[in-house]
C-alpha cells in the first residue's frame, strides 16, 4: 500500500509541476508568435457595434445593477445594445427591468422558461444585428473600460471571441473568499492559455463573439448544461481564435454556500468531462494544438488526481488530528516551539517537491494579483488555499461518479 501511495504521490507531483512549469515558460516568453498584439481601432467611428444579451431568471435583486453597469460602459452609445431576456422569472424581474423600457439602448424581451440558459441566449441572439455579440450574467457587473479593452482584440481579423478577467465581487462567506483566490489564480491561468491559443471556456460574464461565429457555426447547444464550454470547443475545431483581454474586469458573485457551489462545480466538471468526450475525435487527432495534446488531457487527469487525493488527504488529516489528540490526552497541551535545524527541516523528496510546487503557486498568485489585477499580494483569504483541495476533491468525486453513471445510460439506450 505504501508503495502504491508513493507512486501516486510522485506521479501527481510530477504532473502538477510539469503543468505549472509549462505555464510559467509560456507566460515568460515561450509563446505562440502573434498572440501579443492588437492594433486597435483608429477612431470611435471604426469601433464595431455590440449587442450584450443579459439572460435573467429570478434576478430581481441584481439585474438593475447589471444593466446600469452596461449603460455606464465607456463606448459610443449608438453602437451598444443591451438585450435583456427575462427567461420566465417567477419573481419581479420583469417589473424591475421596466425601468429601462424607454431607453433606446435597451431591448426588453420575455420568454417561457425551458430549464436551460442556452435557450435564453439563443432567443436573444435572434434579435442581435450587430458585428459583435456578447452576454453578461444578470448577477455580474462590468468595469467601465471592460468593453473597450475587449473589443480592441477584434481589430485583429483572426480573433473570433474574447474573454475577460473575472473577479469575485464583495465576498462574504468562506466559500466566496475561496472562489476569490481561485479566480485570481485563473486570471493568470487564462492569460497563459491565451498565449497557447488554448482558452477552452467562454464564460457567461462578458464574453464577446463576432456575430459571424453563430452565423457560421449555429446557435448555442444544450451541451450538458455547459453551453459556454461547448461553443469554445466548436470554435477551436473551426479554427477560430479566442483571446483574453486581461484588462477587462468583470465582477461576478460566486455561490455563497457550499451546496450551491457544489452544484455549480459538479455542473462545470461534469460538463467538461462530457464535452471533451463528445469532441474526443477532434481532440485525439491533435487538430487543436496544445489544447489537444496537453490542456484538455491534463484537465481530465486532474479530475482523476483530485478524486484519488481526497481520501489520501482525509486519512492524513485524520491521523494528524488523532496523533495530536492522543498526545493531549496523555500529557496535556504542550506548546511546541518549532526550531529550524538540520533535524527539523523537512527532508523527504516529496516534501521538497511540494515546497517547490507551493512556491510556484505563490508566484502564480502574485502574477494574477499584482501584475494582472493590480491588487495587493497578501491577504487572509490566501488561507483558503489549504481547504480548497478538500472541496475540489469532493466535487470531482461527484462529477466523475455522475459522468460514469450517465455513460452507462447512454450505452443502454444505444443498445435498443
Amino acid at each position: 500500500m505504501d508503495v502504491v501511495l508513493s507512486i501516486f504521490t510522485y506521479t501527481a507531483l510530477f504532473l502538477s509541476l510539469y503543468f505549472q512549469l509549462f505555464l510559467l515558460l509560456t507566460y515568460f516568453g515561450w509563446r505562440k508568435p502573434g498572440m501579443e498584439d492588437r492594433p486597435g481601432y483608429r477612431s470611435d467611428a471604426d469601433l464595431p457595434s455590440v449587442s450584450i444579451i443579459v439572460p435573467c431568471y429570478n434576478e430581481e435583486r441584481t439585474v438593475k445593477k447589471t444593466i446600469l453597469s452596461l449603460l455606464a460602459l465607456d463606448y459610443p452609445r449608438e453602437k451598444l445594445n443591451v438585450i435583456v431576456v427575462d427567461d420566465g422569472s417567477k419573481d419581479s424581474t420583469w417589473q424591475v427591468v421596466q425601468e429601462f423600457a424607454d431607453n433606446p439602448s435597451v431591448m426588453l424581451l420575455q420568454k417561457k422558461n425551458e430549464g436551460s440558459k442556452f435557450a435564453a441566449l439563443n432567443f436573444g441572439l435572434t434579435y442581435a444585428n450587430t458585428d459583435i455579440v456578447g452576454c453578461l450574467d444578470a448577477d455580474s457587473s462590468v468595469d467601465k473600460m471592460a468593453l473597450r479593452y475587449s473589443v480592441s482584440w477584434f481589430s485583429r481579423s483572426d480573433v473570433y471571441g474574447v474573454v475577460p478577467s473575472m473577479v469575485i465581487d464583495s465576498p462574504k462567506s468562506i466559500m466566496q473568499y475561496m472562489q476569490k483566490v481561485e479566480y485570481e489564480l485563473s486570471t493568470y491561468l487564462r492569460q497563459a492559455l491565451h498565449r497557447m491559443e488554448s482558452i477552452y471556456v467562454t464564460p457567461g460574464p462578458l464574453t464577446l463573439f463576432r456575430k459571424e461565429v453563430f452565423d457560421k457555426l449555429g446557435p448555442y447547444r444544450e451541451a450538458h448544461h455547459t453551453e459556454d464550454l461547448e461553443i469554445a470547443l466548436r470554435m477551436h475545431v473551426a479554427g477560430m481564435r479566442i483571446a483574453q483581454s486581461k484588462e477587462s474586469l468583470v465582477y461576478t458573485h460566486g455561490p455563497r454556500t457550499w451546496p450551491q457551489l457544489l452544484k455549480q462545480r459538479v455542473r462545470w466538471t461534469y460538463g467538461f468531462l462530457k464535452n471533451v468526450q463528445d469532441y474526443r475525435k477532434q481532440i485525439f487527432s491533435g487538430e487543436l494544438g496544445d489544447l489537444s495534446v496537453f490542456i484538455l488531457p491534463i484537465g481530465f487527469i486532474s479530475v482523476i488526481v483530485s478524486v484519488i487525493s481526497l481520501p489520501v488527504l482525509l486519512v492524513n488529516l485524520y491521523s494528524s488530528i488523532h496523533k495530536e489528540a492522543v498526545q493531549i490526552a496523555v500529557s496535556g497541551i504542550h506548546l511546541h516551539v518549532p526550531m529550524l535545524d538540520l533535524f527539523t527541516v523537512p527532508s523527504q523528496a516529496y516534501a521538497l517537491l511540494g515546497f517547490v510546487s507551493l512556491a510556484i503557486l505563490f508566484m502564480t498568485l502574485i502574477i494574477g494579483r499584482r501584475v494582472i489585477l493590480k491588487k495587493p499580494i497578501f491577504s487572509f483569504d490566501l488561507l483558503t488555499l489549504f481547504i480548497y483541495p478538500f472541496f475540489s476533491g469532493w466535487w470531482s468525486v461527484k462529477s466523475l461518479y455522475n459522468a460514469i453513471l450517465s455513460k452507462k445510460e447512454v450505452w443502454a439506450s444505444n443498445q435498443k
Partner: protein, 248 residues
C-alpha cells in the same frame, strides 16, 4: 468586412514539451539528491554525537577503575551523558524520515541502545559507591504498538517535569543480545510497553498519574514539591524584606 480564413491545423511545439520535461525531471533529481544529502548529514551528525558520548562514558569508566572508587563530590547526574535523551528524540525523527528498515537507522539504534546500557551501569555503580539513589526508568517498546506511542508521550512529559529522571528506552524488536539480556535481568516478559522502575516491572500503558504513584517517582515528586515550597518561602521572605525596607 472580409476576415481571413480561420487558422488551419495548429502545430504543436514539441521542443517546449521536451524542455519542460527536462526541467521537471531536473527538479525531481535535485529534490531526491538534496533529500539524500540531508539524510546523510543527519546520520553523520548522530554518529559523531554518539562517538563523543561513548568517549565520555569510557573516560568516566576509566576514572572509576583507576580510583577504584568514584569521586562522590561530583553531582551524580552530570557524569552521565546528558545528551542521551536528545539523541533518542533525534533518532526517532530519523526513523520516521528514513523508515524503520533503513540499515543506517538500525545500526545507529543498536549503538545508541548499547550506550544507554553502559550509561545505566555506570549510574548504578556510582549510586552504590556514593550511596545515592538516582531514579531511572527502563522502558521497553515496539514501533507498531499504539500504547507504546502513548507511553512515549507520557515519558517525554515526565522527563520535562523531572529533569533528574533518567529514561532508557529500548526497542524490543531490535535484534540485539544486550537488550535481551537486560530483559532477562530485569525479569521482563516480551510484552510492551513495559516500564522497569526500581525493582518492579509495570506492563501495559501507564498514565502520568499512574507513574507518579509509583514509590520511587512519588519520592521524586515530593522532593520537588518540598524544594519548590522552600524556594518560594525564601523568595517570599526576601520579597517581604524588600517591601519592609521600602516601607521604611
Amino acid at each position: 468586412m472580409e476576415h481571413h480564413h480561420p487558422n488551419p491545423k495548429r502545430k504543436v511545439e514539441w521542443i517546449k514539451y521536451i524542455v519542460t520535461f527536462l526541467v521537471t525531471a531536473g527538479l525531481f533529481v535535485s529534490a531526491f539528491y538534496v533529500s539524500r544529502v540531508i539524510a546523510e548529514k543527519r546520520v553523520a551528525e548522530i554518529r559523531s554525537i554518539q562517538d563523543s558520548i561513548s568517549l565520555d562514558l569510557l573516560s568516566s569508566e576509566t576514572q572509576f577503575s583507576l580510583l577504584n572508587d568514584s569521586d562522590c563530590s561530583q553531582d551524580g547526574t552530570s557524569i552521565l551523558a546528558p545528551e542521551l535523551g536528545q539523541m533518542g528524540d533525534r533518532l526517532s525523527g530519523m526513523e520516521t524520515d528514513l523508515g524503520l528498515d533503513n540499515p543506517d537507522v538500525i545500526q545507529l539504534k543498536k549503538y545508541y541502545s548499547l550506550l544507554e546500557i553502559k550509561d545505566y551501569m555506570l549510574a548504578r555503580e556510582y549510586a552504590k559507591n556514593c550511596n545515592v539513589k538516582p531514579v531511572t526508568v527502563i522502558y521497553f517498546y515496539k514501533n507498531d504498538c499504539d500504547d507504546c506511542t502513548k507511553q512515549g508521550y507520557a515519558l517525554t512529559a515526565l522527563r520535562e517535569k523531572y529533569p533528574t529522571l533518567r529514561v532508557y528506552s529500548f526497542d524490543a524488536d531490535l535484534n540485539l543480545s544486550a537488550i535481551a539480556t537486560l530483559q532477562t535481568i530485569t525479569k521482563v516478559s516480551g510484552k510492551v510497553p513495559t516500564l522497569v522502575i526500581g525493582t518492579h516491572a509495570y506492563t501495559g500503558f501507564q498514565s502520568i498519574d499512574d507513574i507518579e504513584k509509583i514509590p520511587e517517582i512519588k519520592k521524586l515528586k515530593d522532593k520537588m514539591i518540598k524544594d519548590e515550597a522552600s524556594a518560594k518561602a525564601k523568595s517570599d521572605s526576601s520579597e517581604k524584606t524588600v517591601s519592609e525596607e521600602t516601607h521604611q
